[in-house]
Amino acid sequence: MSLLDIDNLKTYYMVKRGYVKAVDGVSFSVNKGEATGLAGESGCGKTTVAISILKILPPGGKIVSGHIFFNGNDLVALDEDTFREEVRWKQISVVFQGAMNALNPLFRVGDQIVEAIMLHEKDVSRKEAYERAAKLFELVGIPPSRIDNYPHEFSGGMKQRAMIAMALACNPSLLIADEPSTALDVIVAAQILKLLKDLKSKLGLSMMLITHDLSIIAEICESTVIMYGGKVMEYGDTIEVFKNPLHPYTVGLISAFPNIRGERTEMVSIPGQPPDLLEPPVGCVFHPRCKYAMEICRKKEPVYFEFKKGHFVSCHLISER
């Protein structure tokens, strides 16, 4: 059963020189109780997908077309008031990149969580909210006695845990985590990943995990979306995508990662740079960096199609086969 269905989403940013096609025809789903990982390099549009779902696009950004179905309802069509009252934080919440710096240094951590609860659930008293915040602290592995501390008294990992607690404050069914462990040290990052995994199974939480690090997706997510230049290159079951990658970009990304276990392998680079999304390449967005690029790749954009059950790809090499 899918909880979130994104159907041909296009989000553009208007700038002086034209439109930046940050998300340009993206489709994938997040199943109930499962995690979907969104991977890609910086500027591939993965964060824009997240803020489109939450409808918090900066000025100039606009969902041009497409649908975001959440429990069957189209969020794109929903007006801002209803969205804020019924969906944001209660149904879908988010932990942003560098969330450790998202806490207000002037307020106690517990009070910030209480504020989030009371803003979204009007009938909850301060005392109830406070008790809930203490329970949330416990859930994410911070001693509830620390509830009255200020952010500067927390370490980086604890701040990230507090942000996760805040995201869970109103029992959302979908948690979007944007690079949740990027700025943290190896061991602390592993602790946070472990926590997310535990929460997923304990609360039956669905997750969308955005990261540039494929190994984090391999660790947590049931399905994987590989994005490049605002488009989905490949999407499918994580094991399938990692073991039988179809798209040359996926193959490239996987071999660009050094592995700590098993035999020592060389890192293989993908020559060239990500595309300029103001003027994306004609045809397949990846063709200037693709070593298999054919004539047709320079002319015609490949269609995104289901190659095998549940395994989607957008590449002429595969559709020609």
């Binding site: 190896v186 061991i187 190994s215 391999a218 996987i254 592995n259 700590i260 060389e266 680079s269 993908i270």
Partner: protein, 328 residues
């Protein structure tokens, strides 16, 4: 083959005095220090990439800076090709600067935004008074870092370059004086995945081509496995394990190294999952724990001795380890 030591560091320490407020400094009798590096000894051989790994706050960057004398060590000795340079003044050290260069972490910060690539690469030559064949040397070094054709890049400003290209300019700058030793401080951690591999392979190639030795500072053990011949793992200003990289990765002995390795996620959904047996985060280097500094977080804590006595580096199974588990 006998490999010679190029850089030797002995019992190196760097304490940074802690600034206290005026009132507190009146009351407090003792000056507090941040013990960033607290007695490390190692050597970097010729034509070798020596890795320094550890979490942030472990002192790896400070070690790199102290070796280049960008900060003065508190105590300990630094030898370059057998000569003690620890107390040399800036003027006497200048010839050594030519041999020892650095690549910084962030190519967005380390290049002067007002200088074109040509000037960035020319500056080290001018400072060192190497005025011959400037043009030729700049061309060659740009070709070496694969910014080709060089004339396309000579007159560009850093903002006109991508992250990977900038980092290659930074590498070119460190190479233009034909150094023998380069400190590479997390040179790829700011780069995108697909570009990271390119810069890593470039460094490996340069090592072979120029015979440059590197001190490679990283928090990424998977990366150090690809790059480093030998590795030292640091924790709170001390080396806890040191030896051949592959040996350490295959069979880590120190509990901290084990913890670091277990925490690295693997890009393979069917392999073993990450494990986190270690609790908490790295303690403050102002008041590091007594005895073994890792004892507060250690999953293999064996008792009193860990708290009381500081373990010394010992040769165990072909590498150096500082842990009481192996001292008996």
């Amino acid at each position: 083959m006998v490999s010679e030591d190029l850089i030797v560091v002995k019992e190196l320490k760097k304490y940074f005095p802690l600034h206290m407020g005026f009132l507190r400094s009146l009351v407090s009798k003792t000056q507090l220090f941040v013990r960033a590096v607290d007695g490390v000894s190692f050597s970097v051989r010729k034509r070798e990439i020596f890795g320094l790994a550890g979490e942030s706050g472990s002192g790896k960057t400070t070690t790199g800076r102290v070796i280049l004398k960008l900060v003065q060590p508190t105590s300990g000795k630094i030898f370059v090709e057998g000569k003690d340079v620890t107390t040399l003044g800036e003027k006497a050290f200048k010839p050594y600067r030519k041999k020892m260069q650095i690549i910084f972490q962030d190519p967005y910060e380390s290049l002067n935004p007002r200088m074109i690539v040509r000037n960035i690469l020319e500056e080290p030559l001018l400072i060192q008074g190497e005025l011959g064949n400037i043009e030729e040397r700049i061309y060659r070094v740009l070709e070496d870092v694969k910014l080709t054709p060089p004339e396309e890049f000579l007159f560009r400003y850093p903002h006109e370059l991508s992250g990977g290209q900038r980092q290659r300019v930074a590498v070119a700058r460190s190479l233009v004086l034909n150094p023998e030793f380069i400190v590479a401080d997390e040179p790829v951690s700011m780069l995108d995945v697909s570009i990271r591999a390119e810069v890593v392979n470039l460094l490996l190639e340069l090592k072979d081509k120029y015979g440059v030795s590197f001190l490679f500072i990283t928090h990424d053990l998977a990366l150090s496995r690809v790059i480093c011949d030998r590795l030292a793992v640091m924790y709170l200003g001390k080396i806890v394990e040191m030896g051949e990289t592959e040996r350490i990765i295959k069979e880590p002995l120190h509990p901290y190294t084990q913890a670091l390795l277990e925490a690295v996620p693997v890009p393979d959904p069917t392999s073993k999952r990450i494990e986190v047996r270690v609790k908490g985060e790295i303690p403050s280097p102002i008041n590091p724990p007594s005895g073994c500094r890792f004892h507060t977080r250690c999953p293999s804590y064996i008792g009193e001795i860990c708290r009381r006595e500081e373990p010394q580096l010992m040769d165990i199974r072909g590498r150096m380890v500082a842990c009481h588990l192996y001292s008996r």
